[in-house]
Symmetry: C2
Subunit: 291 residues, 2 copies
């Protein structure tokens, strides 16, 4: 059987990426784009499938972006499995893989930074200074090189999604930013490339994260609108499960990520915790709709 | 006589600008862009003429960008003469005027900043903190809205030109940045919208600026390659002319604006001075070619 994937092209520099995109545009094809750092899992493939369904040609980038890692973070040991990634993408019918080296993304003498502030210094940005500047900068570069009509981001990284949406609006970029609901393991753990760091006991404990924010969502749907009360419900469950290192656990406006005392509609509860040596994040929307 | 200018369209918001540009692109027309703050003079018109000669459709923006002015600078009193500007542009054959209000450039909740550092904190950036972040941000927005093939910048603002060129390269924008030689008054003073602030005596004194950097250029062409020596030649002439408030006077690499002890080729001498209450800048390239 010849899979669709046998036709996937791999592009490794700016000029090749540019030429491919211009060709698609000249043919009137709509380009969908899924930026990733590789180590692909079912969550990523779900994004790719969304893109395949909504556009004519899908390009996935794999680039472990050094500027979004802090000096003490896991850049060096971040999982890199390009051959497995490439095979998964080809199988699912992805049209192009953009797999640049650092110099193709950041040309010699690079010194430009894109910052979305204060959004980028809240929540994860407080724990990871400079992280969202790294994200906003690399996404701006990738959007300019790939020239997508639509770009697909997982809602698991909810703050990132809000920042990218804001960035695109602010800078007037011609890209529709699509947020795609989080894909979870059977027991509720949000899929993440970093889950492979979890040892057996930590893996079991990590299930409490979704259970905690899910309980807050249930309480919200049952009528509890106070942010502090919702946070307390989730916090109790985390602590009871032995997750004590809670970097943040916060109910916010889903639109602006501003703190709100009461959530009437369009809220989100977000958390970042350490489980063993691994930092995990998750969130659920407080809107009454499934997330 | 019906002037060409009678067909110039005026666009005042993002949607109209976007629609106009998409129409040109669909027709296969190359778009030239001249971003300005209005108060147009012969220097601006020279940029427009370059654009008209090199592209199929020319759009000029007039936007006095608040974010590139410091709190003590001349934003409020910056000259605004939209009717005179519009007439000049129509006369010269400009196709479109983009004349947005602040909310069309910076939508509600705007919080994105584009910074080119360290380039943006040198020279004028040292005297005007945040100025080049304001410039880089607004130019990124305008480029995304106008979607030009080529954009034209006066070399009078040489540091700005270098920063925009770097920005476009770094972020992978599909724009050719064209630097256009400075247009001068008959006595050598670089044309600037701020020249209208000069009173009679200051106007006379200001001529020394170009005389000073021109003398450095003459010395360079005669074989003097030492930056300190070239700077001393220019500084002497400024001081002898009664211009004592020299914010900077510096010989740099024309490519990177890095300081260099010796200039063998591709240098630039740049200066910013106060003449009366007015801040004036100028520069000449040290390349042997006319500037």
């Amino acid at each position: 059987m010849v899979s669709q994937g046998s036709e996937m092209v791999t592009l490794t520099d700016r000029a090749a990426m540019h030429a491919w995109s211009m060709e698609q545009r000249q043919e009137g094809r709509r380009i969908g784009f899924v930026p990733t750092m590789g180590a692909l899992h079912a969550g990523h493939l779900h994004l790719v499938k969304q893109s395949l369904a909504q556009t004519d040609r899908t390009v996935v980038s794999i680039f472990v972006n050094p500027s979004q890692f802090g000096p003490k973070e896991d850049f060096d040991r971040y999982p890199r499995v390009p051959e497995a990634d490439r095979e998964m993408l080809a199988q699912v019918g992805c049209h192009a893989l953009f797999y640049p080296d650092v110099a193709s993304v950041y040309p010699e003498g690079f010194q430009t930074t894109v910052a979305v502030e204060p959004l980028g210094s809240e929540l994860c940005g407080r724990e990871r200074p400079g992280h969202f500047q790294g994200v906003a900068t690399v996404v701006t570069v990738l959007f300019n090189l790939v020239k997508p009509d639509k770009a697909f981001f997982g809602l698991k990284d909810y703050q990132q999604f809000v920042i990218i949406r804001r960035l695109v609006r602010d800078l007037g970029m011609d890209v529709v930013v699509v947020g795609v609901p989080t894909v979870r393991e059977a027991d509720g753990l949000a899929m993440s490339s970093r889950n492979r760091y979890l040892t057996g006991e930590d893996r079991t404990r990590a299930v409490a994260i979704h259970r905690a924010i899910g309980a807050a969502k249930t309480a919200f749907e049952a009528g509890e609108k106070g942010s502090a009360r919702l946070e307390a419900i989730a916090r109790r469950i985390l602590i009871d499960a032995g997750i004590h290192r809670i970097q943040y656990l916060s109910v916010r406006s889903a639109d602006t990520l501003m703190p709100m005392k009461m959530i009437m509609t369009d809220g989100v509860i977000l958390t970042a915790v350490k489980v063993g040596a691994t930092r995990l994040i998750d969130n659920v929307l407080l809107t009454g709709s499934p997330s």
